[in-house]
């Protein structure tokens, strides 16, 4: 028994070492759930790309009865890829609630649907703030922004280039060619502020069944329809939801693309670049920030005081780094702000930077005493949010710290002292005059 335990423990050690941690936030172990193992081969460029970036992919059929996300309360994986759009019921102990718990505990998720998307996949998407078109036969159709093709005539193969403008999500390099998309559209839940459209449909797109006549207005039209969306949860878990599974396929990766109405024909679609960059973001290889060495002290001193007095001059500094997938690189920005906060911000100041990740500023403590906080609430599109707060009390002047010899009061002093001198002379004169 004990021998078994030791073996089990030794087996777990490498697992524990490679798992998700605050020091190395990239995911390592990824569970890939498939409808059919053929997807493993038809989407191999995407999977091989992940493998070459150091991910340990575990391919399982979605209805495999042995799959589980956690064992003994420990998650076995850092991320989950659901390439099983038609699955009605997962095997093993996984269900929609288990997947949402997985995300709630800070793990990442990629969901790809297609026109056969099951209720289960739709439910997971809805929980993430993404509502797929309820009409199960609807596809995204775009008669003005389709990909020109000799064999696809129904304009459901869309060449889309309406990307989110964010270097951190899509990489600093511009996506070179339109992205091929064939699948279902979705809308974003307006009450969910965490979900972002990464690839939106063009104004002329709509979601309908291409085979039947359009009788009622389509539920999703135009740019309000999203093709690919991402969510960054408050716990920094990241989710990618795409209405097209074939967007990740080798066929679309290798395909040439020409958008209708555009004279340029690209030899290679933008899918590979788009999907690769997006997966880098989802798996925390980019846009993951950490703040260290939060320091504050009075000007001219080095040590952090236990309390400030009103009107003190202080200096505040923090170092911010971004995870590059392998190392922590200095984060360069010019919009990091610090707040000196009690109930509401008394001071809100943009920090200066040396462009090496060091952010600093100096300001005067307000003339209000109480318990204040230094707060850095850094939320930028695509970056993990930084929320630092450090409590510090502020006291008023002591009685002996006020100004002592006020020039304006000299007449009063003079009056008192001349009075005292007069008194002394008067006593002498009064007593001894004859």
């Amino acid at each position: 028994m004990s021998k078994k335990l030791i073996v089990l423990f030794l087996g777990l050690v490498p697992l524990l070492c490679t798992c998700f941690s605050p020091d190395t936030p990239s995911d390592r172990r990824v569970l890939v759930l498939l409808d059919d193992f053929a997807i493993k081969s038809s989407h191999s460029i995407f999977f091989n790309n992940l493998k070459s970036r150091g991910f340990d992919l575990d391919f399982k059929l979605a209805d495999d009865p042995t799959i589980s996300l956690q064992r003994y309360g420990q998650y076995l994986y850092d991320a989950l890829i659901l390439f099983s759009p038609t699955i009605e019921r997962f095997g093993g102990s996984i269900d929609a609630a288990a997947i949402l718990d997985f995300v709630d505990s800070g793990h990442d998720l990629i969901v790809a649907a297609n026109s056969n998307a099951s209720d289960l996949i739709r439910e997971i998407a809805t929980e993430c703030g993404v509502d797929f078109d309820e009409d199960s036969s609807a596809l995204v159709i775009d008669h003005s922004g389709y990909a020109v093709s000799a064999t696809e005539g129904d304009h459901t193969l869309i060449a889309s280039d309406d990307f989110i403008k964010s270097d951190v999500i899509l990489g600093s390099e511009k996506i070179k060619a339109p992205v091929l998309f064939q699948g279902i559209g979705h809308s974003l839940n307006p009450s969910n502020s965490l979900v972002l459209k990464v690839l939106s449909a063009s104004p002329s797109a709509y979601s309908a069944n291409p085979k039947s006549k359009l009788t009622s207005p389509p539920s999703l039209t135009g740019t309000s329809m999203s093709l690919v969306s991402v969510v960054q949860a408050r716990n920094n878990a990241r989710i990618l939801i795409s209405g097209s599974l074939s967007m990740f396929s080798n066929r679309f990766f290798r395909s040439d693309v020409q958008k209708a109405g555009s004279p340029t024909k690209h030899d290679k679609s933008g899918n590979e670049q788009f999907v690769t960059e997006l997966s880098k973001w989802v798996f925390h290889e980019r846009g993951h920030l950490k703040a260290v060495n939060v320091k504050h002290h009075k000007v001219g001193e080095v040590d952090e005081p236990a309390i400030y007095r009103i009107n003190d001059d202080l200096e505040y500094s923090v170092e911010i780094y971004e995870w590059s997938g392998k190392t922590w690189e200095p984060y360069v920005a010019n919009d990091v702000q610090v707040q000196f906060y009690m109930m509401s911000p008394y001071v809100l100041k943009t920090l200066s930077t040396d462009n090496k990740g060091y952010y600093f500023t100096a300001f005067k403590v307000p003339d209000v005493y109480g318990v204040f906080q230094f707060k850095v609430e850094y939320e930028r599109l695509g970056y993990t949010s930084l929320s630092l707060s450090k409590q510090i009390p502020v006291r008023p002047f002591r009685h002996n710290e006020y100004e002592r010899f006020i020039p304006a009061a000299y007449p009063y002093y003079g009056a008192a002292f001349s009075m005292m001198a007069g008194f002394f002379i008067f006593t002498a004169v009064h007593l001894y005059h004859k």
Binding site: A38, S44, I141, G153, T221, D335, Y410, L431, Y432
Partner: protein, 736 residues
Amino acid sequence: MAFVRAPSPFLLVLVLALSISAAITATTTVPQPISDHHRSAALNLFAPSHGSFPSLQDAYEALRVFEILGIEEKHRVSTDTCKVVLENLSSLSSSLKDLFYALKVNGILKCKVNGEVFEGIASRLNASISDASPLPDLYYSIGGLVLIKDQDSNVDVLLADATGTFQSIKAQSQSDGKWRYSSDKTESSAYAAGLAFEALAGVISLASSEIDQSKVNTVKHDILKLFGSIEKNDDGSFYFDGETVGGHEHQDSLSTTSSVVRGVTAFAAAVSGEINLPGDKTLGLAKFLLGIGVPGDAKDFFNQVESLAFLESKRQVPIQVNLLFKFVLQQYFFSFCFLFFSANVTLDLSWCRVTIPLILSLPETVYSLTTKGQLKVRVSTALGSAAPPLVVKLVRAFSSGAKDSSIIESKELQYDKRSGLHVLDGFTNNVDVGTYVFVFEIVLHDSHSKQVYATGGQIHMPIYVTGIIAVSNAEIGVLGDLGSVQTKKALDLAGNDVVSFSANHLQKLRFSFQLATPHGHVFKPHQAILKFRHEIKVEHVFVIGNVGKKFEITLDFLGLVEKLFYLSGKYDIELTVGDAAMENSFIRLLGHVKLDLPEAPEKAAQPPAPPVDPYSRYGPKTEITHLFRTPEKRPPQNLSITFLGLILLPFLGFLIGLLRLGVNLKNFPSSTVPAAFALLFQLSIAAVLLLYVLFWLKLDLFTTLKTLGFLGAFLMFSGHRILSYLASTSTKLKSA
């Protein structure tokens, strides 16, 4: 028997009716045959790392794929790989699997292996067969012997007890045509069945004496039973489902299917052309294999390409059969085939074969009326090699909306020798824009090919014919509540002009336009949408319907106020017209309408919240600086000093006054003791005053009070003495 050979007219009619309906509902995508995409992908996938392959199996798969696709890569790897092959063949410790693949690689590379080595291996393999070994071992051993037989005819590889071996393999077969891996395993699999068929084929070719025909027939029967469990996709492709058996690794549908194909074709070759499968199944299998596209995995790639190669390999022509009935059965109603077989096992099995599937594909399915293209059809085998002489017939073509009215009926396509395509010229002359289904049929020239190739009967292909749609007579106007036209404007939808209106809830907005195809017919687009967008980004979508030739929509604002959330203000009107067959699909701003709607009642629905703009949400906040309390206003220092001087003036006056009065100190006691007390008294007064000055300058209250207490007591004592003295002297004076 008679029933099979001469089917009743009723059954024939039923079969035909079923077949036509089945053909129409079948989905229309037909995969393209293997092309150069495959070749370039193969070069990437099977590129040996540092000139050698990780294992012999990988080497074999790579070489076999290169061989099938006609890629000349052999010489680049042959020396290194041959070395590995020779090592494996000469080593006594190499496993059966390694020997098997070493022999397979040798079959392709023709490494120099001498006969003694073969003899040694042959005896080793022969020895391993005699044991009651599991199926994979038997498969490798028998496969190895067959390979030796092919590579060196001098070596004696014949099986001593072929019938016994045949029996021992056959013993593991199950009633559903699947096989078990060994006698102690309970689960059976189609993958194992594929291995078994290949092994049995090997046994037949290695047998020193003829295997009993009835045994062979039971295996044929097993094959047909196995094909009874085949899965079918909506698009007419057939495959064997993936499976996980016992402790063995999971076999996906591709490897299972390819194992069965390999086994069945090997068996068919071994039993001299008598093994038979309906053409639909082979065509379906080919469709399945081609439907995978270009696999990204080396194993899958090998399975796909090798299976297709096996499906395509030439086999002997089977004996003559009832052609009409075979045709019907093959094309549409294959399951009957099995029904008959299971009903009557002793039936003549020879009228079905493993046929070579012919793939009909269209390089283009979208034709534009403006460019007047030819309809092109390519017929080839799955691997892309040329088809036998044949004619492609366009049976009929109908609009996908109306199945009954054909637009083209039975036309033969011209074969263009240069491009290898079958073309139909000028078909666009009498075809209008729209979505059509073209039904093709492959007619083979000679009866010989008819029995070798599976054509799949009528093949339905979706064809899109696109063209420029004329948009005309666009009008937009506001109507009064009784339908009287109040304002009306003609619009040129091709231009950019916009209109603006104002309307209230008692009025109506009417918009109409006409669409015509190049042939002058009415065109009904899939997408004809009018969109109202309020300033606060609330959108309303209306579908425009057609009345006769005219597309018209009338928006009665009275009925729409609730839908519009009682939002008055400016609305943008946007028109989107689009269709798969319309080359000039457009989206266009028509103009604006300023709506004056009544106030919303209390219980009216609120308009939905506008979506949050992510860019503004995450921007930096405006800076806040604290406003400090301003210090009290003070007079300038000079003024204070001037006032100090003024304050000191009365004191100076007092001193001058005293001098003027001529003060003296003659009353100061002259005797020693009172004089000392007088001096002490004055001194202590001075000390108290000095203490006050010190208090002002530096001392705190506590020190001051302490000192003051001490000084006070002294002051009181000395004061009392001197004052009583002074009092007594003054009373003495008075009394004197």
